[in-house]
């Protein structure tokens, strides 16, 4: 990972959009995924019913989370699974390290887990001299490039096949200049098979943990979670406390929503239900808080914990599509990340709720009905209140609020603004005006609507 000082979203996005052709390509590629989602969703007459159920199940679960967590723990332990609790990212990483050390493990494979990204597990273990091999193709690509995933479902969506080809040529010795995705994927299959069959410990995420049964479900298309978990002597699954659902039958709602929302598939290729370790295997679950109980206590923001990490809000977001995941400088980017991350660190992530047009498309596609754009707007108010915005933004916003709340001043400001834009456009069209970047200032009309109405209302 780069040691450069983290840029805020606007500054990072400015670098991203310098390459116009690539920005357009990124925009189109994600919009293509959004369209696949629409097609899948429109094929299901009961889509809105499923969303409503999913939302209600999650609301119910959050309102009884303590009891469901203890029920899950009890049942999982009865199934022979060892349960660990981590208050924060560091404790999660320390628990993992302890398991690795106790067994003197060196060959570790990991399937996609956004929680372990959130906790920066790989970096932590690397500092202890332990190498983890990411096995999701997209994650392996970005790992070889020493980058972070830019999208929670499509980790390497910011890269073109030429980039992947160069990376694989360097690390896996594939033919130089062979950009064929089929060829490159086959190379990764062979490379990672070696790691799978020799793996001693497999780390996976958890999509759903069922309180009633003490088991958990992991969804992948590639089969990488299963290749690792069923080979290794030890399986460690990492989950946030919000992954709990009450009953197995609720999977019949969530599995219908997840893949359709994520990639437009009717269901992921593999929906694996882990109930007990296989004979001779050790199975652990690390249950992680890392700010989630705090978010549970924020009435305006708690329903962000309903998120099932489908990334539909990423793919539809006009700002995400044209600024790229790395601009969000956090493990979970996009609109949902912009309401989760200020809870973890308000100061460091104060820019994120502003990386939105508040158009509301994110809330419309959300399969569990999180009011994402409304929470973005609410976070802005909290962040301004707490004093975490840049002074120029604060002054501009305060000035605008004053103008908008005084009709006479508003009319005078409009009149003088129009006069300035007509007679001295250079006052608006210059680099000091941040609104002028990538925009032409509008041509000002001679008359405001208010004046026109006053003149014409009696005609």
């Amino acid at each position: 990972m780069s040691n450069l000082k983290t840029l805020d979203h606007a500054a990072a996005a400015e670098i991203f959009i310098k390459d116009e052709a690539r920005t357009d390509w990124h925009d189109d590629t994600l919009w293509f995924v959004r369209q696949k989602r629409d097609k899948a969703v429109n094929g299901i007459a009961e889509w809105e019913q499923l969303r409503e159920w999913a939302s209600q199940i999650k609301n119910h679960t959050l309102s009884n989370l303590d009891n469901y967590l203890t029920a899950f723990e009890k049942q999982a332990e009865a199934n022979g699974i060892k349960i660990h609790w981590a208050a924060d990212a560091l404790e999660h990483n320390q628990l993992m390290h302890k398991i690795l050390k106790a067994h003197n493990i060196s060959r570790i494979v990991k399937s996609k887990s956004m929680l372990t990204e959130e906790c920066h597990l790989n970096d932590y273990l690397k500092k202890q001299g332990i190498e983890v091999v990411d096995t999701d193709l997209g994650e392996r690509i970005v790992q070889l490039r020493d980058e972070a995933p830019s999208h929670i479902v499509l980790p390497a969506i910011h890269l073109k096949k030429q980039d992947v080809s160069e990376t694989f040529h360097e690390h896996l010795h594939t033919e130089e200049g062979n950009n064929d995705p089929q060829y490159l994927t086959e190379a990764a299959r062979q490379h990672l098979r070696d790691h799978f069959i020799q793996s001693e410990l497999a780390i996976t995420g958890v999509n759903f943990a069922i309180a009633e049964t003490g088991g958990f479900v992991v969804c992948t298309n590639e089969g990488n979670a299963d290749m690792g978990a069923h080979t290794a002597k030890i399986h460690v699954a990492c989950m946030g406390i919000e992954k709990i659902i009450p009953k197995a039958e609720h999977l019949g709602v969530f599995l219908r929503l997840l893949a359709r929302s994520a990639t437009g598939q009717p269901i992921t290729t593999y929906s694996s239900h882990f109930q007990k370790p296989r004979p001779g295997q050790e199975m652990h679950i690390i249950i992680v808080d890392n700010g989630r109980t705090k978010q549970l206590g924020r009435a305006d923001f708690r329903n962000s914990l309903k998120c099932i990490r489908c990334a539909a809000c990423f793919n539809t977001c006009p700002v995400y599509r044209r600024s790229g995941g790395h601009s969000y400088h956090t493990a979970v980017a996009g609109p949902i990340g912009s309401i989760l991350n200020p809870n973890l660190d308000m100061k460091a992530n104060a820019d994120l709720p502003f990386a939105s047009t508040l158009c509301g498309s994110c809330s419309n596609v959300c399969p569990v009905k999180i009011d994402i754009h409304e929470q973005l707007w609410k976070w802005r108010q909290v962040i301004v209140e707490e004093g975490y915005v840049k002074p120029e933004k604060k002054i501009a916003m305060k000035g605008m609020a004053w103008i908008f709340s005084n009709p006479k001043i508003y009319r005078w400001a409009g009149k003088s603004g129009r006069w300035f834009l007509r007679t001295m456009p250079f006052l608006g069209n210059n680099k000091l005006n941040v609104w002028y970047k990538q925009r032409e200032m509008p041509e000002a009309p001679k008359q405001s609507f208010h004046d026109w109405y006053q003149q014409n209302k009696n005609k």
Binding site: T29, I44, A45, Q49, Q56, I57, H60, L62, S63, N64, L65, L69, W85, T135, L137, G138, I141, L154, P155, L159, K161, V164, P181, Q182, T185, L192, R193, F196, S199, T213, G215, N221, E222, G223, N224, D226, M227, H230, T231, A248, E249, L251, V253, L255, Q265, P266, I267, T269, Y270, S271, S272, H273, F274, Q275, K276, R278, D289, T293, L296, G297
Partner: protein, 190 residues
Amino acid sequence: MSSREKILATCTANKPALVDLPQLSDEHLTHYDDKIAQFKFVLESIGGKVVALENIEQVKEEIATHKQSGELVVDTVFSIDDALKTQTSFDLERVDRAYLQATLGVAENGSVWLYEAQMGNRLLPFICQHLFIVLAKATLVDNMYQAYQKLNITETGFGVFIAGPSKTADIEQSLVIGAHGARSLTVYLV
């Protein structure tokens, strides 16, 4: 206070007032006039093959033919070899073809459910090069709601819905079949 106690105590303090759990029902969900046609349509659209068979003997013959030609074939449809249970990734990674019986199929999404007992070894359906599933037509259900009504996911230590061959689109959204799991999936409907 341990982290466990701290997390649970904060949950208790911060959780909102209890809201009801919705009652799910099959009433509002789509049912298909022809479940076989729907299952076939969806599974083929996600890269799987569906073959209707007159009788199961055809599968037996196919297995025999491929075994004779020197391929490593594992069959758990007709008999499960006890040794399979303890085989490791080093043994199983050489398997060319695996034949497994599924419990049920789901018309809505083209998936089939397998219990661990039907796999013989948890790793087998994933590590084999080509996967063949035998499914009784009569077991097809309309949707996932019905599937979970019929299944008992606690019956064995592991179970899985499989829908098509392993795939990825992680390189520029180009679909590639055969990521880490089976390169092909064929469902024999009997």
